[in-house]
């Protein structure tokens, strides 16, 4: 051990061969072994398993013996009416969520930042972070009750205002709104946390100077706060882009029912329903691969554009 010490500190950073440096830091590499094993087994092996999208996979024959069919499943995919419906729902629900739910936490964070009563601010934060920690099952349970036609509070209020009750969870016109609203209820508060963190990096001197110049609070928000968090907004936007095609599979699986499949069946739920239910392994793997590839392209290009024009990216 003692003889290796100078090498470890390596003050005049000489060119050591890769092998020597790996040997001298063998314990660091040892720490990586379990993580890499889990990664290879549970993340990379399924990537290899994608090849069944090009086979007529049969679970009894396995991957080795199932016949190859080339792009047959992809041809079926692009002509299937199921797929076009599912793709349409995925895009619509994702865009609705992006347009409505992306700006919301930014606005809430800015308003939250303007609260001067610390006790009030902290209790509000405690309350609005909370729903993030609940499962989609619990959230769907809460809202099925709240929005039910049989004694749900919301419908009671609607009736008092003279409207007809609405079966929110069964209605093709309203179900997507339910998805967006409940996702907003669950995540808006939590999503403010990143922007609040970004505020703390803004130099307080800027606000003082602005006040000296007689800038109102609105002008301070517009000229200091917003530009100050702009980089984080861009970063969060790229991250969101990557999951654009995700649309919220877990949420929808927890909330939907056959009555509203037409407006809410997205790629993720379709792969689960048809893949697991009817065991159409090859076809649904092709559908899943489509989703993965689009997601991948979206993050890569989002990051590329942001690096090029804003000099900033995730990597």
């Amino acid at each position: 051990m003692a003889s290796r010490e100078p090498n470890l500190l390596r003050s005049p950073r000489k060119r050591t061969s890769a092998w020597t440096s790996i040997r001298s830091e063998w314990d660091l590499y040892l720490l990586l072994v379990p993580g890499i094993c889990f990664l290879l087994l549970f993340k990379y092996t399924p990537m290899y398993g994608i090849s069944i999208a090009f086979q007529d996979f049969n679970i009894f024959d396995g991957m080795a013996a199932s016949p190859w069919v080339g792009f047959e499943h992809f041809e079926r995919l692009f002509t299937s009416s199921d797929f076009s419906l599912v793709l349409r729902n995925t895009v619509i629900i994702s865009l609705l969520k992006l347009v409505i739910l992306f700006p919301l936490p930014i606005i809430v964070a800015i308003l939250l930042n303007e609260l001067k009563n610390m006790a009030f601010k902290r209790s509000i934060q405690t309350v609005i972070y909370l729903p993030h920690f609940l499962s989609w099952i619990i959230v769907s349970g809460l809202f099925i009750d709240l929005l039910s036609v049989h004694g749900g509070i919301v419908n009671k209020w609607l009736e008092q205002l003279g409207f007809a009750p609405i079966a929110f969870f069964m209605n093709n016109d309203y179900f997507r709104s339910v998805l967006v609203a409940t996702a907003g209820w669950k995540e808006t508060g939590w999503s403010t946390i990143v922007y609040l963190a970004a505020f703390s990096t803004i130099d307080p001197g800027l606000y003082e100077a602005a006040r000296m110049d007689g800038a109102s609070r609105f002008r301070q928000i517009w000229h200091i706060t917003l530009p100050g968090i702009a980089p984080i907004i861009v970063l969060m936007f790229i991250l969101r882009l990557g999951s654009l095609f995700e649309a919220g599979t877990e949420q929808i699986l927890a909330m939907y029912n056959p009555t509203v499949y037409k407006v809410s069946d997205v790629i993720g739920t379709y792969v689960y329903r048809v893949g697991m239910g009817r065991q159409e392994y090859s076809f649904t793997t092709a559908v899943g691969l489509f989703e993965s590839v689009i997601g991948f392209i979206l993050v890569i290009s989002g990051n590329y554009l942001s690096r090029k024009y804003l000099k900033r990216g995730i990597w």
Binding site: M1, E5, L9, R10, E25, D27, L31, G35, I36, F38, L39, F42, P46, Y48, G49, I50, I52, I59, V108, L111, E114, L115, S123, I124, I128, L130, P131, F133, L134, S135, I137, I138, S140, G141, L142, I144, D145, L146, H150, G151, I153, K156, W185, G189, A197, A198, S200, S216, R217, F218, I232, L253, Y272, G275, M276, Y281, T285, G288, G295, V299
Partner: protein
């Protein structure tokens, strides 16, 4: 300082806005609590909104004595404890070497990890893998694949990189190896971020129903969330038994049973949440601002 009237108006608006937002967040819970504590008659006739009507505690007595419910609770607690401990350990020991710039091949190793965030094999190939590994209908299928979470790993790695290098150097002069430095120096200094990540893992395991839905059909291995999902679909034996028993013995409606079960499953989160809040706020700050 005197406020101008638009500013005062803004303050009034802002405080009302957040009061309203806070109330909207709490409303569903209050409603559910009221339903779980009301009599069958009041619930079925739809009279309950925010306050319980004809207060009764029979629903909770029923839920907390039901074998299926208690078993699901037991599975979830076991899964959460084992899963959180193992994931936190593996994720931390992965983050530490990757936080050292002197590690040869660090860039490629990081890429190997980050790539899995961007692209995945998808549901069916993953299911077939678990099937081939004979992990279907076992408890480990619910935590082994989640052992390393790359996002959490990067947060811990960022935190480690933020600790001063001099700590490591002085420990090395005293003859400590990498493992000693990690466990005796870095870990004790990383409590806020480790507590945060532990909370994230615990919440993940406690809330996961998707994996259980795919891999678990054996009723004795069903965790809480899957149990609740079936309960909400009102298709489980539990709710049918409950309806029969309820009519015979107790003054409680199936909706009350659902409400009480949901609330009991939420209690563990409500208990740990306030204690961990100061940690996760700090931990998330560290994780996000460093980008």
């Amino acid at each position: 300082m005197r406020l101008s009237w638009p500013e005062r108006l803004f303050n009034v608006f802002n405080y009302s806005f957040f009061t309203l937002m806070g109330l909207t967040t709490l409303l569903p819970f209050v409603n559910l609590l009221a339903k779980s504590l009301s009599s069958e008659n009041a619930v079925v006739s739809g009279r309950v909104s925010l306050l319980p009507i004809d207060l009764q505690f029979g629903t909770y007595r029923f839920v907390l004595q039901d074998d299926a419910f208690l078993n699901a609770l037991r599975v979830s607690v076991t899964l959460t404890l084992i899963g959180t401990a193992l994931s936190l350990f593996v994720t931390t020991i992965t983050a530490y070497p990757l936080s050292k710039p002197r590690l040869r091949g660090r860039k490629w190793l990081l890429l190997l990890f980050i790539f899995t965030m961007l692209f995945s094999g998808g549901l069916i190939p993953t299911y077939l893998l678990m099937h081939n590994l004979n992990l279907v209908n076992t408890l480990p299928v619910l935590f082994l694949p989640a052992m390393v979470n790359v996002y959490n790993m990067l947060i811990i790695k960022n935190y480690f990189e933020g600790l001063p290098d001099s700590l490591e150097e002085s420990a090395k002069i005293d003859g400590a190896g990498n493992l000693r430095i990690l466990f005796l120096i870095y870990l004790p200094l990383s409590m806020p971020v480790l507590a945060t990540i532990a909370l994230f893992f615990a919440v993940y395991y406690w809330n996961d129903y998707f994996n259980a839905m795919i891999y678990i059909t054996n009723p004795s291995l069903k965790p809480m969330q899957l149990f609740l999902k079936e309960l909400l679909a009102a298709s489980s034996d539990f709710i049918r038994n409950a309806a029969i028993n309820a009519d015979a013995e107790m003054n409680t409606a199936p909706q009350s049973i659902q409400a009480a079960s949901i609330l009991v499953a939420t209690v563990p989160i409500l208990i740990v949440y306030p204690f961990l809040q100061k940690y996760f706020v700090k931990g998330v700050l560290v994780g996000s601002v460093k980008e």
